[in-house]
Every structure is written in C-alpha cells, then in structure tokens.
Symmetry: C3
Subunit: 664 residues, 3 copies
Amino acid sequence: MNKLYHGAAYYPELWDRDTIEEDIIYMKKAGINVVRMGEFAWSTMEPTEGSIDVGFFEEMIVKLASHGIETVFCTPTPTPPIWYSYGYPERMHVDKNGRTMGHGSRQHACTNHPIFREKAALITEELAKRLGKLPGLIGWQIDNEFKCHVSECMCEQCKSLWHDWLKEKYGTIDNLNNKWGTQIWSEAYLAFEQVPQPGPTPFLHHSSLSTMYRLFSMEKIAEFSDEQATIIRKHSNAPITHNSSVAFSVDNERLFENLDFASFDTYATIENYPAYLFNHDLFRNIKSGKAFWVMETSTSYAASLASYAMPHPDGYLQAEAIASYALGAQGFCYWLWRQQKSGCEQPHSSVLSAWGKPTIGFENVLEVEEIRKKIEPIIAETYVPQAELAITYSDRAKAFLETEPHQNLQHRRLMTAFYERILHMGISRDLITEQTSLDGYKLLFTPFLPAISHDYLMRAKAFVEAGGIWIVGPLSGGRTEEHTIHTDMALGELERLIGANVLFTFPMNENEAVGSAFDVSAPLSLWSSVFEYDSKTSVGIITEGIAKGHSFLSEYRLGKGKVVMLGSMPIGQAGDTLLTKLIEHYSKEVQLSTQLSVTKGTIVVPREHEQYTVWFIINMDGQGGSVNIQESATNLITKENIQAGELEIGKFEYVVIRFEKTQQ
Amino acid sequence: MNKLYHGAAYYPELWDRDTIEEDIIYMKKAGINVVRMGEFAWSTMEPTEGSIDVGFFEEMIVKLASHGIETVFCTPTPTPPIWYSYGYPERMHVDKNGRTMGHGSRQHACTNHPIFREKAALITEELAKRLGKLPGLIGWQIDNEFKCHVSECMCEQCKSLWHDWLKEKYGTIDNLNNKWGTQIWSEAYLAFEQVPQPGPTPFLHHSSLSTMYRLFSMEKIAEFSDEQATIIRKHSNAPITHNSSVAFSVDNERLFENLDFASFDTYATIENYPAYLFNHDLFRNIKSGKAFWVMETSTSYAASLASYAMPHPDGYLQAEAIASYALGAQGFCYWLWRQQKSGCEQPHSSVLSAWGKPTIGFENVLEVEEIRKKIEPIIAETYVPQAELAITYSDRAKAFLETEPHQNLQHRRLMTAFYERILHMGISRDLITEQTSLDGYKLLFTPFLPAISHDYLMRAKAFVEAGGIWIVGPLSGGRTEEHTIHTDMALGELERLIGANVLFTFPMNENEAVGSAFDVSAPLSLWSSVFEYDSKTSVGIITEGIAKGHSFLSEYRLGKGKVVMLGSMPIGQAGDTLLTKLIEHYSKEVQLSTQLSVTKGTIVVPREHEQYTVWFIINMDGQGGSVNIQESATNLITKENIQAGELEIGKFEYVVIRFEKTQQ
Amino acid sequence: MNKLYHGAAYYPELWDRDTIEEDIIYMKKAGINVVRMGEFAWSTMEPTEGSIDVGFFEEMIVKLASHGIETVFCTPTPTPPIWYSYGYPERMHVDKNGRTMGHGSRQHACTNHPIFREKAALITEELAKRLGKLPGLIGWQIDNEFKCHVSECMCEQCKSLWHDWLKEKYGTIDNLNNKWGTQIWSEAYLAFEQVPQPGPTPFLHHSSLSTMYRLFSMEKIAEFSDEQATIIRKHSNAPITHNSSVAFSVDNERLFENLDFASFDTYATIENYPAYLFNHDLFRNIKSGKAFWVMETSTSYAASLASYAMPHPDGYLQAEAIASYALGAQGFCYWLWRQQKSGCEQPHSSVLSAWGKPTIGFENVLEVEEIRKKIEPIIAETYVPQAELAITYSDRAKAFLETEPHQNLQHRRLMTAFYERILHMGISRDLITEQTSLDGYKLLFTPFLPAISHDYLMRAKAFVEAGGIWIVGPLSGGRTEEHTIHTDMALGELERLIGANVLFTFPMNENEAVGSAFDVSAPLSLWSSVFEYDSKTSVGIITEGIAKGHSFLSEYRLGKGKVVMLGSMPIGQAGDTLLTKLIEHYSKEVQLSTQLSVTKGTIVVPREHEQYTVWFIINMDGQGGSVNIQESATNLITKENIQAGELEIGKFEYVVIRFEKTQQ
C-alpha cells in the first residue's frame, strides 16, 4: 500500500458546471485525492427506460483525473428511476407488515425481481464498458449500503424464490419438516409452495422459518452483488467493493466472498469510538491481506430531516483518520463533499456547504490531509500484523439473535461491548469471520454464536489441539444450525467433543445468581449453560441462586490446548472485572505478546517492518492519557528520542514511535 | 376428591418411540400421574384433509394407563393444519388493523368460520369416539387457551355473524339506534348490515359498538366450546374443561356454563404470587362445588424466543403446589414435560430437557410429589368452606374497561390489587362471578363493575336486606348495560334503590383531592361518584379539592343490611390504609369469623371437616413469617402438638395443623 | 362590541322534548345567552339520502330565541351519515399507512371527494335557506374542528387533485423537478401523474414532496370552507366562522381568509394557561378588527373513553373567562351543555349531567355569568389596542417542522415557550400571521420560520427601515419556500439584504456549545446559523464549542432600524435569562410603553378608551401575585380608589382598574 486515499462522496449530477469547477478547486485545497460517484444517479444515466447515456460521468472521471483526483465508481442500483417504479407495485419491496414501498426514497425496489436484475445488469454493463478502463478509475462500488433501510422483502417474487431456495436446501418437504421440527403446532407442510414468508401471525413464527428467511434474504442480496461483479469484470480490471456495515441485514462474510476488497460506512460518534474501531478490526479481516476502505464517515455529524448526531469535537476527526490509516485503511472518505440542497439529508454535515463555503469541520479536513501526508511513508513501509487474539464475528449469529432476542438482546451491542473490553485492555485483536483461518492465533473467543457449525468446530478443535485456547460463550453453541435445540446433549457435538456435562440451560436471574472466578464474584445473566461441578474442570463456580454449587466456567483440555466454556454472562462492574481477569488469565497462559499498558481512551496500533516496529498512539476520547514505553524509541514525526517509561498523550494527540528490532 | 393429580403437558407426537419410553420412566420417577395430550396435534391426527387417524394417541393413552398415568385429552383445534390454511385467506383471523393472519403460529384461524366449525366437529367426533371410553382417559380439554394471542376477529364471516347477533339481540335497527344512542355524530344505522366492526376510524368508536363487539366475540367462542362439548358427550362420559385465564379475551362465566369443571393456566412469578392465588379463589367458584385444576404452570419460568420470566427461587414451586391443592385444586400440572426442541417456545422451562435430562426445577418437582403424597389424605377428608367475604369478578366488566380505560386502567391489575389487600389481611375470600349465588356470604365487594345488571342488583338487594353488607365501587354502577350513561340518576336503578344522591361524577385529581374516613386521610383518584353530604349516611368526607365537603363514601341501610358506596379510589400508602380500615370496619360489623393474624407473605388456608378444622399455612414470598394460633393444635405432618401463640414459619415452609371442633 | 356572549354547545337532537324544556330553564339559570348547534346532526337533518328536513332546528332556534338565547348554527359536515359511507370505501379518508377509515367516529370522509362536496353543498344550502334569516340566528360555523383527528388524506381522489394542484403550481414537470431538486436519489418525475403521495417508503420522503403535500392538504380544506361560506352567503347575512386551533392540520391564515370572524377551541389545563392565552393573542389578529370567540372550552376537564385531563381547580374557569373577554373575545362558550349519554366522549365535563343535574363546575359557570354581567359595560366602552410587540405565527412553518423535526421538535411547543417568556415579562403582545400588516409595531419577532417568503421579507425590510427592530430566529430563514437549502448564501435573500456572513449552519451540541450575550452565558442548542465575528455586528459570541469565537447573535442596521439575527437557541435556565435580557434590551431600545411590572402567574390586560385606560389584572395560576401600579387609579368593580404602588392580587382574583388619561 503505497498511497493513502483521502476522499469524499461526490454528486456532480446534482449541480451545474460552474459549481463543479468550484468544487474541484476546493478539492485540491482540501487534499481530496479520490471521489466516489454514481451510486444514486440512475435517472441521470437513463432518464427514460432504455435511454442509457453515461457520458456525463465519463467526462467527470477524466476531468477529475486531470486534476489528480481518482474515482471509485458505483453502480446506481439503490435508486431505480420512476420509469421503473411507476405503475409496477409488484416490483417494489414489501415490508413485514405487508406494506408495499413507493417511489420517493431509496431501496424501494425488490432486488430479487427478475426485471430489476435485468435492468441493473444493463446499466452496469454500460458503465463497465464505458468507464471501466478510464484513467483515474481505480475501483468500483456495487450499489450502496445494501439493506440499510430494509431487511427481508415479503413480495410475491421473493415468496417464489424462497420456495426454490428451500427446495435446493432441503430437497424434500419431509426433510424440511424433519429438520425444522414442524410437527409442533401442526405447522407441517405438504409442499414447498405452502411454506409461508414470516408475515403476520398471532404469536411468534417458528424459529427455523424466521432464521432461514433471514439467511435466504442475505444469500439473495449477495447473489445480486455477485451478478453485478461478474458483469463489471467483463470490462474492467479495477477492484470491486461494497460499502457495508454490521448494522445492515447482510451476511458480510458471504457478501465479500466474490468482491475484491472490503469497505464500510460508519457514523459512530465519539462516545462510541470503540464501535468505530470495531469496524476496522473486522473489515481488515473480511478480505484478508487486502487493504480496506472507510468509504463513508462524516466530517462532523450525521443528520437527516428527522434526527441528527452531535458534531465531532475539534480534534476527533483527525484521531479517526490516523486510527483508520494505522489499522489498515487505504481510504478515508467523507460523506459528503457538498451539502445536499434537497432530499431528506439536507442537514447532514459535509466538506462544503450547499452554497459553496467551507462548513464546520472543514478545518479538520485540512488537518487530516496534513496528517495523511506525514504518515503516508510510514504506512507504506509497514503492515498491520495478524493479532494473536481473535474474536469470531458472525452475521448469521446476528440473524439467530434477531429471531431469538431472549430479552431484546442485540448482537451488535453485545459484540461491541465484548470487543470494547479487550480494546481497553490494550490487546491487539482481530475480529474474524466464521470461515477465517485460525492459523497464527493463540487465543480465540467465540461469544454470542448460538449455532456452531461442524466446520467451525473442527477448525477450532484443530486450533486447540495445536495449543490454542478457545473461549466459548456466553450464549454460544446451544442451537443447531436449523435454529432448533440439540436433542443429544445441550451443546450437541461441541459438548461431546470436550467431554463436558451441561446439567441445564436457563436464563439466569441477575438479581439472584452470583458466579465466582479469579477471586471475583459477579451477578450472572443471560440464557446460560450450567456445567457439572468438577474440581478438575470448574474454574467459575455458581455461589448463589438456584444453580448454586455448579459451574458456569469450565476448562477442558484438548490436545495441547484448552476449551474454556463460559456458560453465563457476568454483568455489572464486577462482571466486567471478572471478564477482564479471565482475559488476562488466558492471555498470560498463552503468552500473548501484544498486551500494552495504555490508559482507557487512548489506543496503540502496532505496525511491523522487518527491522522495526512502529506504534501509532492515538488519544481517541479527547481526555488525554498515557502509555508505558518499555524501551527507548524514536518519535517519527518530531524525530526526537523517547525514553522508556510513561509517555503522556494530550487530548486527541497522536504520536508515532519506532522501536528497533534487536537482531535475532 | 380422593386423588390429587400431579401432571404435565405431553407431546409424544413430536418424539420418537425410544424417547417416549424414556419419558415414561422419568414420569414414574417424578410422580407424574396424569398427562395432558393432543391440543396441537391436528396435523398428526389428520395430515391431509379427511385422512383422520387417531391411533397413535389411542395407543399412547393405553400405554400410559398401563403405567398408572392417566390422560386429559384435548381437541387440537388451536392449530389447524396447512391443508386448512393454505390458499384460504378468508378462513383466517383478521386483526384490528385489518391484517390477515397467516400459517406458522397458532390461533391463526377464525373460529367462527363455518368450515372451521365443520372440520373441528369432524376431528373432535372421531377423537371422542375412539378415545372417549379408553381406560385412563379421565377428562377432556377443549382447544387450548382460547383467545390468548388474539382478541376480536374482524373477518367478513364475523361481520355477518355480528349482524345476526345484533338482530337477535335488538330485533330492530331502531331499537339498536335507540339503545346505543347512535344519533350522536350521525352514526345512526338504517340496517343491521351497515353496523361496522370496530375497525380503523379517525377517533374512538362509539362505546356501545366497541363493548358489544367484545361481548359478541366472547359469546361466539363460548358457543364453539359448547358445540365441541356436545359432540364429546355423545361418545364419552369423561368430564370436560378448558384451560382458561382472566388474561384472555373470554367471558369465563359464560364459557364454563356448559363445561364440567374449571381449569386455568398461570405463569405468575413469585413477585405476583397474589395473582397466582387469585386464580384459585376465582376458578374454584366458576364451577362451584366441582374441583378445579391448575392445568398449566411452569416448573421454573415461562419463556419464548422473545422474552422470559425469571426462574422460581428454590422452594417456590412447592409453595405453589401446596397452596393450589389446599385451595381446592385437584390437579397441579406443568407446562411442559419435555422441553420443545423446535418452534418458538424452545427456551421455556420443563421437567426434562430436550436432550432428556432433568432440568433446573426437576428437584422441586420431586419435592412437590413428596408433598402431594403427604397431604393427599388430609385433602381427601376435608373441603374448602365457602368464604364469608366475596368479591365479584366479571369478564364483562373487563370488556367495558377495555372500551373505556379512562387512563390506561386495566381491569385485571385493578382487581388483583384489590384482592391482594384482602389476602394480606388474612381474610378467607371467594372471587365469584356475577351470577354466583350470594347465599351464605356476609360481606360482598363489587369494585370496578361499570354496569350493574338488574339481575345482579336484585340479588344484591336481597343479600343486603337479609343482613349482608354490600360495598360497591370504586368505578361501579355508572354505566348502563349498553355502555351508555344513565339518564335518570348517575347510578340509575342502584341509586334509586338505596336512596342516594350522587351530586356529580368526574375524575378526581389525586394531587388535589383528599378523602377522609376511619381517621385516615388519603388522596382520591379515578373516575368518581360524589355523594351529597348527610351526617346520617356519609362515612368518608372529601376534605380537599373541588368536591370538598361532599362525601366519597356513604352507607345506606336496606332491610337488615347496608349498601356502602365507595365512590372514589383512595390511593397511595394512605389510601391502602384507608381501604384496609374500611375492610376491617365492615368485617367487624358483619362479624367475619375468618380473619386471621398472619404476616404478609404467608397465607393460611382453612379446610373443614365435620369434627375438625385444618389450616394449611404456607410461606409464599420466601421471606418467612408467622401466624397467630389462638388455640392448641396438632401438626398433621410431624404429629407434634402446637401451643396457642405465635407460630414461626420458615422460608417457603408449610405447616398443616388441625384444630378440634368443640361439640356444639 | 356591546354584548358579551356566554354560551354552550347544544345537541337537542339527542334528547327528548321534556329534556329540552328542562335544558332551557337551566340555561336561563346559568346565564347562557347563546348556543351552538347542528355540527354533528347530519343524520337528523337527512336521515336517508335526499330526505332533507331541517325543521327540528328551525323550531329550536325560534324557541331558544323566544327565551333570549341566540344561536350559532353549524353545518353538519364532519359526520356524514351511514348512507354516505356504507358501501363506498372510495369516499373515505385514507391515512398515511394506507388504512381506509370506516364509519363510527367522525372525519371519516375525505373532504375532497366530489360527491362529498356535492352532498355537503346540498345540506348547507338547505340550512342556509331555512335558518339563515331566523331571529336569534347570529352566526354560522362551518363544519367542526377541521383536521383535528386526521391530517393529510391519501385516497385516490386526493392523488388526482394533488396532481392538478402541482400542475397549477409548477406548470411543467421539469419545473417541479428543478424546484424540488428531484435529481437526488433518481427521484425525478417524467409526468405529474407519477408524483406520489407521501406514503410508505423505506426511508424519509423528499422534503419538498412532504411539505408540499401538507400545504396542498391545507389549501384543499380551506377551499372546502370557502365553498361552504359562499353557499351560506347566498341566503344569510349572519357572519361565518370555523372553530379552529393551532393544533389542527390547517393553515389558519388561509382558512379564515374567506370567513367573517375567528374562533377557536381550547382545552389547556391550568398548567398550560399560557397556551390558553396564546390562542387569544393569535386569533384576535387572524381576522383583525373583528371580535373573536372562544367557541369551545371545558367547564372543568376534557375527557374521552380513553383519557382525561385533570379538572380545573375552583376559580380557574372564572380567570379564563375574564381573560378571554378582556383579551377581545366576544363569546366564551362551553363544550358542552349536557353530558353525552352515549358515544365516546361520555366522561367529558359539561354544564349539566346526562341525568339533568348541575355537575362539577356548575357553580363556576354561575360565577362566570356574574362576572360577565359586571364587565360587559366596561368591555363595551373599551378596546384592545394593537400591541407594540409582534410575534409572527405561521402554520406553514408548522408544516415545515413536521417534515423536518430535526429532533422531535414541535412547532406549537416551541412557539408557546417563546410566547410564554414574553407573557411572563408583562409585555403586551400580538401573535400575527405572515401576511398581517406590520404597521404600528415597534418590535417584531420571527422565530421558527424556516422559509421566509420574499413578500414577508420585503415587508419586514420596510418595517425595519422605518425604525423597527426585527429579531429573526432561531431556526428561521435557512430553507427556501420549496423546502430546500439556499444555494447562494445560507439564508438566501435575507442574508444578502442585511449584509451578514453566515459561516456555517449545524446543530449545536448543548453540552458543549456556550454563547454569551448581555452578560449571560448559556448553552446553545438547535440547528443554528453561525455568523462571522465582527465587533460592529456581533452581540452574542460563542465562547465554547467547535464554533468558538464566532457569533450566534448579530445586529445589522437597515434604514432607521435593525435586524437582529438570533442564529441559535440559548437553553436551560441561563438560556431563558439570556433571552429575557435580549427582549428587555430591544424593548428598551424601541421604547416599548407596555411592559408592566407584574409577577409571573398574574396577567395585566390593558384596554383603551379615548379618555382612560382600563387594566384587567387577573391571577391565572391560583398562586396569587402582585402588580406595580405607577399612578393612582379606580377599581371599577368596587369603585374604590387605588394608590400607586404594589397591588396584591389574591388567588384567581381579578381586579379591573381605570387610569385617567392626562390631556395631551
């Protein structure tokens, strides 16, 4: 990665020629070296059905390139024009309550309708042909934020595809009935055609039906993405991405399978900076070995007609940018360049105002550019090493929790909180998908994964046998992949593998249940697995409540390593302490080398070179902090020498230091 | 009642033969002597339309009987199979927003559709014929929890039945218009066909329309129950019940009219143990003189995919069981035997787990069985005497309050709170329906009954004239049976009968209005009737607020007794004290013999024998307590002698003592 | 204005002859001299289609007149009879979720359907003909509370009218696309027929579409009102009004354009007495120079089946009545005379109960009548002078804020709070519409007006140039009349006019941003305009937050006056102080003569006569207070002399004093 991109979303189709000229001048001033264009411009490219002309964008790409500004071009499929929607309600997205979406916003069309696919293919092919080899065209983005406003579509077309998908997956309706256990409540189906979409019912739908419909929907949107990518590749060699998020109703692992690099959009405010970083540690590993992009973030605040976030405090944008580049982002891009003058996102922050002036946050953009230039050579010579600690992230688990939220549980919130603890402990970490190779890791966490697949289990087993420690839970393993309950043992194959004995599973009453481990007692919560007490395996004992005397935390040796079953969720401040001690304990046991002594709110991002290590130290919370430096180093920006000891970091300050590697 | 049942809901149709064998072994171990089967198994019995075969259940009943396990068999009508639902949206339930329910849960079918009635009759007749005389078949349950997920259906079929029902009730449309007062807002109808169901309107519907539609719906579901019972009785002598609840949209009094015994489902947690007991004191009197059943309760906690209750603390299940048996339950049954492996209630507690192990709560089940065996002979020789204090409970009043909730009032919550106070005072009490005979009572409470029927009034009058004290209110009597306002006097016939003078009715502002009675002053609340002050009748005076100087509590002599009008609701801690004093005052006046000195959280259930009295003393709240024993007695479990004085009761402890009756 | 009316809504069509006789006797007793009749009585007048007979009301008007009770008669169009609704779903109102309203409440019909207009015209013409010249008929009310339950209708008929309206407004679809900026999100339309109503979409609709649909709906209901008024005027000279409110989805300025006098309904409770007064200061100016009416207010509390307000404390009704008459109301009328016996408003307070007795509040009604008689001659000889301070109120601004609520902002709440501050400062004030002449004012406030029209701007400019001070903001001027963002300057024409320089606009973070002016520092909030600091123009400086050092409050000289730009919203207690000081500062600068020293909770209403000034001093909050009298005066009720100095006012007390004017 030799170049760091500093970019912005750009909608020249909404403005006149003079404004565009003004924009380019300001882009140069602000150090914008890449724009993203095209994702909502279908009606500009094809104002009436069949009248495709993408000349305007061809011209724009060339013009921008002539000013040194490169382009990521997007397919415009999130917003089909009026000629596609008007008079065709059957082509529209239908929500859970059966309401058919109308024209006037975005994502109103069902992406599974064959005519949609056909029209999308035509416009994308034309774009790929005409723009695919232009100078300055460095990448493609398919569509925009798939499923950010909608989740599963309930239209008639989807119903029919759902039946096909089920037929493909289950072969016979008897097999489906059997796998799902539909004899319950006399739900059993006589034919695939009878299996409903999860629409209105007097009480909850069957878990398997609900979860499978979510997986079906995730597969279908990925299939659309695949189709689009195939078309583009016929005419262009530029790498392809999608701007995704863990907040959308997609399976990111599956979605990026056939794309070339990962990118995401994030609008976390400073209070949620761990959520901001979470994205980096995840998307870096979604297309492992390939640089990812922060495709959208605000210069100051996100807003629409109906809500707004608080603006960034002065200094935070820079902290975000350095953190992004240091954690492996090649691109750091704003949404958006020039404030929308119409539509429903008029109040959203931008680089320029609708009337062409630098807006709030513009000064910060200039500072980001200063930083980018300073760190570009440092980034170019180093790389983000694989962490020793990994946490499995699964969008399929998210689907399971949407079907079975127990008590309003949200997968994203649970995962972010779990991640945050490890972040604050100063441990370098990777968020990895279910299929990511476990090679090279020492410590693996698998929290909040209701269904552990056979494949995952086998790879985790090999990881453990080779010496790794695998910490499973809370809320992991208690469901089959069909979203039913195991009928052999509480945790099925996993339990048999480790030789555990789960006595029962039930929701802990956090006002009564107490667990004790690592000399800490804490309330226990969530749907829990309780293990038989055994002095050889029990690490955490339940000391209060109806499962008193049993174990909520047990270790099982397997080959050279260990499986640690965290059956319940310690909560509150004491729970946090307990979990922190647990992580410390096993980090020590596997001899993690990456835990650093840094105050909460400040992060250290190590990057490697053959001969040296670089640390990016960044204060994210605006409170300042310090980090313990164990050997002398050089400040790469000031070139000053830094002594071992406590290094103070000011509010939103960043320091880049270099440690020489001793010869081995 | 010679036998006490200890049972569980059982779904053998969902499991294989080996599992069933295992189940029976465990049932014997756990002391389960009755199962309930069949209520969701329609697709097992009739997998395709017309292919009825109930052989599996015939075999199950016989097999279980051979192990000493008897059966209550259910008609499977809550879950019509896919051949009934698929392709027939006109047969489905339609909710208030006009959404047609789909297959995939339960109660999706409109129970008023003629084809539903026809299909239900066929399956039920076959079940009755084939199973009706089997050994071990001791009872029938019709359907399951009528209207637990749905309330009034808005389908076209119901619309037509609604018109027939109105025609039957009102004769002419002019009569309906007149009774309802539809001239208001030009609502007047020219024909029955024009009277809408209470669907979407810009503002609230007319009160009469709303309430009558609820009563119509309640009548129709009872009519379906009647039809089913008639069919069963053609082929079986086993008594028939339904597992109901005050939480469902049914009129329990009407529903049980043509059934043989009462039963109910309850999942109250320990915090709501008064609500648990409420059911017993009510359903005992719904089919007066016949033992009732607790048909469903959890061993530990209720749960679905989307929510869960906290598990019972250790000891509470036993307290529940003893209380149930002592209060007159013949059966105490769990939902469910073996954890669901699929569907939407997988996390619900059970006796065995889905993988065949005893789950949390299993030990408590064993203890219940121990207790059952110990108390069975004591129960067999005694009976629950009629209480001296009665509280009228009306599901029709619930319908009125749903139409007119004033400020989010909930009938069930109001009634439970009212009941709870009397419970905590240690007074034996009956909850009785509107038509229950008042003979034998001394003190009658009629709270939260907006419309007092002429029949009820006449019987209450006779009760009072014979010496009873009738306490009416709060919120009682201010509406006609058509849910309109009286136009002769505020409380209509009641007011005239007692010679009261209601000055006005209005909602008291609890921040301003204060009432004083029995030397207590308390804030007044709720829609209130204010009586003219008269030193002869006024007992409670309004001392603050806009009705200052008038009366909120007045007594009127009638024959040998009194009608006490409680026009307003004293609230807060002071209100509770005032109401407690009121109850004490009138209890004393009628010389109630059953008020016991027992600490809150512990209950005393007296049972009678010709020669002795037995007290079941049970600590329900897990805090322990004590009860004052006025004469020496014998502990029937330990056979020890107990001296008069304060008897300590441990946490969840139960003590059964016997007092000898002195010869009269 | 020689006569003050004391009235009540009366529904004789719901009662029998005897009851009507009783009513009239009580009306005389209570001093009711006017009734309002007819607004829901369509089915009485035309029980079947075409069978119009209004004889009953003719008789009623004459009978009442013979007792000295005059009548305001209403057209009955809010409640079309069943013959209009039954079987015609296409005539009904359709809500935002596409639900078609049914019969059974009111406002169920779409008022834009041609058959509705036709039927409404027929009944209204008949009423006008038959009743228009009757003795005692002193006024007309069209319909009742337009759009109080519904807002925009989404029916097919409205869709077609919407297209016509757009065609009329924009001429060509290209012009619409251009004005709205529909190129965004490929929304662009090829024909007017394609422009949707703002129904369901995955995310927010385009701002212009949403706002224009609201304006279209407001125009259509006013058009209906116009039609009705035209019909009435053919046969009657009695003045015409509508009982409106700022809470309804109407544009009051436009609605009253073709009506003869203003009236409104208000049910504010004592806590919201400023909202009660707000109506008076607004509706007095909506038909400037013509007396307005309080057409509906409760004697004690508003209620329906589902909710109720707290009853008025004793004394408040009188305070309301005096305040109304003093502030210019000619009529003060209750809703309603006799409690509803049926329908959905049974619990609502009234003068008589449904059973014909005086209800709670009746005594207060008698006191109101006493007061009315006492003050009638004083009112008759004086008038409410135009205030020197005006605040612009705009229902179109309300529509903009509904489309763009930022963070749940409510126009009414914002305006009331702004008004309340000025009220509490003892300053006489007018709330005026956008088109009201600015002549005679010294100080003009324009808060919360997103789009400032060119016409308004030109008139405000003239006002300022002539010496006025115009205080603009917060939240004013940042949107075009099409609800888009200006593209020339942040505030468009306004900014150019005053020569300001808005640096940026963004939502202030009230936890960080602080503004300082008039020696007060306060948190800043809301979407804000930040002005370049300039020692000549900056009055309020931003001292903390990301816009630190710039200005949130700047003055710009224009002719003999000043434009004061309040770019942000100071909040909290300090914000209130800052705004109070701002108002004081500019009041002083323009030498307002009407600021009085009166304690909060007590109001002073000055009225003028050529030779003297009368003050109505009224304690509204029931806490009592005082007012500083600067010269000696006469108490017009007691005839006592009052010395200059502090005059104590008791709880809910009113004092009317007269100051002689010294000869000039």
